[in-house]
């Protein structure tokens, strides 16, 4: 017995040893970068991102990273930024926070990216913020409107980009209060930070009109109970903080229940082309974009349908050349506009960008691009766009009305914003007055 045990142990020991040796050899592949800033060489900058290319958030959002990449490709063809091309490595995390952690650690520790750009999602990105900040990796322009990116003291490397959901909620709430005064309002929102922040903003204006508050869990595709409850509450307006799939589901369900409320939907879930496509897919072709005509939403980028806007013109040409497979919709616009902002920040970080230099460049402000409103970036604030503009879906496009408004995510008032939007240069970079 002893001899058998010993011989087995020897075998196991040998195997374990062999295994760990294999590991050391595998490990020798990584490591070693000579230049001052990781990911930066004399002619290129490598940046990374985690994106939902598959999974529940993929419909629509999977177009964002390829669109950003299309913009970078165009920029590279124009000579890049300060003579460096941008190498954008985006990885699929399936909107699964656990995958996000491993994807981002791989990008930072193995691929040695200079910065993480436009990482998408609140539940996903919150899991890597601490890691990125302790590793001193710039975490620019998170693709989520959570207020949580705006913590310059705790998270000095992290910056938001889109208006946060409280701001969106305030702007939509103000519109409801003015245009649907006295009508009964129901909330339909995603049961997480995204939905709850939006509700916080809405409540500042329409709390007294609310008759029903219904939420959904992403992944649970039956929203029948919630919409029935809203219908029986007698609400005439539904204010929704939903991702596109749930905007479509809510709309289809209310049609089935023969219930036709006025929809007021956050920018996140209102892109007409995305929602129209989902309506078509979910109803197997029986319904389509016609269902969301008249939907009220808000936006902070020019309307995709506004071909006279120079930004849309530039982005459409880039899209047709580098990303023609995707529809030219709000997601593509989002990806390109964010990529533009990054390129601008990198440009301002100077000829020899460092990680801290990039962060300083964003904090200095002066970033301005396709947005309808300015950014809030400073050393005191890492929040993105300061506001938005109300629009209505007409003929499958968002048609803006009035002027854009800016506000804060506290109790501050809404202020009209009237400054003119800058125009892009042909190279895709604005040299705004420093």
């Amino acid at each position: 017995m002893t001899s058998i045990g010993a011989s087995r142990q020897r075998l196991s020991g040998a195997c374990v040893l062999a295994a760990v040796c294999a590991f050391v050899i595998a490990g020798c592949g990584g490591g070693g970068s000579g230049t001052s800033a990781p990911g930066v060489t004399k002619d290129s900058v490598k940046i990374g991102s985690h994106q939902p290319l598959t999974g529940p958030a993929a419909p629509g959002y999977s177009e964002i990273a390829p669109a950003s990449n299309a913009f970078f490709k165009y920029l590279n063809s124009q000579g890049g930024v300060n003579g460096r091309t941008i190498n954008y490595v985006y990885k699929d995390d399936g909107y699964n926070p656990t995958n996000t952690v491993s994807v981002v650690k791989r990008l930072v520790l193995q691929q040695k990216v200079f910065a993480i750009f436009n990482g998408l999602g609140t539940p996903t990105h919150t899991k890597v913020v601490d890691f990125l900040n302790t590793s001193k990796v710039p975490d620019l322009f998170v693709a989520s409107g959570c207020q949580c990116w705006d913590q310059p003291d705790d998270h000095p490397m992290t910056f938001g980009w889109q208006p946060d959901y409280v701001v969106e909620g305030k702007i939509l709430g103000d519109y409801i209060k003015k245009h649907f005064a006295g009508k009964k309002v129901a909330y339909f929102y995603q049961n997480d930070d995204f939905g709850k922040d939006g509700v916080k903003g809405l409540d500042m204006y329409v709390k007294s009109q609310v008759v029903s508050r219904q939420s959904y869990e992403p992944g649970d595709t039956n929203v029948g109970p919630q919409i029935s409850a809203i219908k029986s509450s007698g609400a005439e307006v539904i204010a929704a903080f939903t991702i596109p799939a749930y905007t479509a589901l809510a709309e289809l369900t209310s049609v089935k229940l023969n219930y036709k409320p006025q929809l007021v939907v956050s920018n996140v879930g209102s892109d007409p082309i995305t929602v129209g496509g989902l309506l078509k897919a979910f109803s197997k072709g029986k319904a389509g974009a016609a269902l969301i005509e008249g939907l009220v939403t808000n936006g902070y980028l020019p309307s995709v349908g506004d071909t006279s806007n120079p930004w849309i013109d530039l982005f459409k040409r880039i899209h047709d050349r580098y990303d023609a497979k995707a529809p030219f919709d709000g997601n593509v616009l989002f990806g390109m506009a964010a990529a533009y902002t990054f390129a601008q920040a990198l440009d301002k970080a100077g000829k020899n960008p460092t990680r801290q230099g990039l962060v300083d460049a964003v904090e200095k402000g002066n970033l301005r691009g396709p947005g309808l409103v300015p950014f809030r970036f400073s050393d005191k604030s890492h929040a993105g766009f300061t506001g938005a503009q109300i629009g209505t879906i007409k003929g499958g496009k968002i048609v803006y009305e009035g002027t854009p408004v800016t506000t804060d995510d506290g109790a501050g008032p809404l202020k009209p914003y009237t400054e003119k939007q800058p125009t892009p240069t042909e190279q895709g970079i604005v040299k705004a007055g420093d």
Partner: protein, 361 residues
């Protein structure tokens, strides 16, 4: 050389295992010093997969009970550790120990059911566990954080290691220590009376019962042991990823664990090392493969699962003993050629799985 090694090792099983584990610990320590942070994370990944696979290989390979639900048991361990560390502020070691206890108790409940089921029914019941249990996190978002999961602060390396000591190396150390403890305890268990009883029940339940063994109790106990390992693996997972979220413990994890056990070699603790390495490296390899073939993102996302399936079929057909079985055959072949004096019964391996008898299915 073989004769020398046999002479040097202590005769007592526990001492021998402790000595070998200490040696392995030194080797792992040196490796962790040589590795960059990313590969230290991989090492930690191998360690927590090993912890889970070692438990599963004892259950399936030595006791003959299949479990497709070990991913869910890892979730129990992970959420226990996350709640105790993140919410209640327990010290890490105590939280890990508690997560082992909680998961072992879950294993008792599952095992009690499992002992009444055979073959495909047992597979089905444990499959239900794998599918259903992570859903609890969504059902009770206030307690378990829903899809968001629970954040846990990463374990800070102790101050005496210095300011610049990489966190990833510390995480690898914790994970490797847990794996080594598991290895020593399991190795002792399976070489003793309990291990013999496990195997007796696996080989023939009626014969085992006639020999005076309480079959049901042994099966439940095997499940408890296996679940405890899965719980520790789950707790270690939280240490390494700083997160317990339902997305980590879906069905693919359970299937991956089964694949790892089969690929490494059913019933072999050394095989669990191979299985663990394969589980850590496979996503990389499948990603490379997908890029080389320029597959779409959707195909790439599902490729690892397809590979698990193919590996399971391939290994079962071509090498039922898994990687460790192949090595063993190779070693024995070399040994037999070099020393003809060796008694033939040295080739009989107490851990080699024998096919289950037909009557049990």
């Amino acid at each position: 050389m073989s004769a020398l090694a046999r002479l040097r090792l202590p005769q007592q099983t526990l001492m021998r295992h402790l000595l070998l584990a200490a040696a392995a610990g030194v080797v792992l320590y040196l490796i962790s010093l040589a590795l960059d942070p990313f590969n230290n994370l991989r090492l930690a990944g191998v360690a927590y997969y090993f912890t889970a696979l070692a438990g599963l290989t004892v259950l399936t390979g030595l006791n003959g009970q299949i479990s497709l639900g070990h991913g869910a048991l890892m979730a129990v361990g992970a959420y226990s550790a996350a709640l105790l560390v993140g919410r209640d502020g327990w010290p890490l070691a105590a939280a890990l120990a508690a997560s082992v206890v909680v998961t072992a108790f879950t294993g008792l409940l599952v095992g009690a059911v499992a002992a009444r089921l055979r073959g495909p029914y047992l597979a089905g019941a444990t499959l239900a566990l794998a599918v259903g249990l992570p859903g609890l996190a969504l059902r009770y978002p206030d307690a378990f954080g829903g899809e968001n999961g629970l954040d846990v602060p990463p374990p800070a390396p102790p101050a005496w290691l210095g300011e610049t000591f990489p966190l990833e190396r510390w995480q690898a150390w914790i994970a490797c220590l847990c794996a080594l403890i598991t290895l020593v305890l399991l190795a002792n268990l399976v070489r003793g009376r309990v291990g013999r009883a496990f195997r007796a029940v696996r080989d023939d339940e009626v014969a085992a019962e006639l020999a005076g063994l309480n079959v049901a109790r042994i099966q439940v106990f095997a499940f408890i042991v296996s679940a405890a390992c899965a719980g520790l693996a789950g707790g270690t997972f939280v240490v390494v990823t700083s997160l317990a979220a339902p997305g980590a413990f879906q069905l693919p994890l359970s299937l991956a664990l089964v694949t790892g056990v089969v690929l490494g070699g059913l019933g072999s603790l050394a095989g669990a090392v191979w299985g663990a390495i394969a589980l850590v490296m496979l996503p990389d390899w499948s990603g490379d493969l997908a890029r080389a073939l320029s597959l779409s993102d959707r195909v790439e996302a599902n490729l690892p699962l397809a590979i698990y399936g193919l590996v399971l079929i391939g290994v079962m057909l071509a090498a039922p003993g898994g990687i460790q079985g192949l090595f063993r055959t190779g070693f024995e072949w070399v040994a037999a050629r070099r020393s003809t004096w060796r008694p033939t019964d040295d080739l009989i391996d107490p851990q080699r799985p024998t096919p289950r008898r037909e009557e049990q299915s």
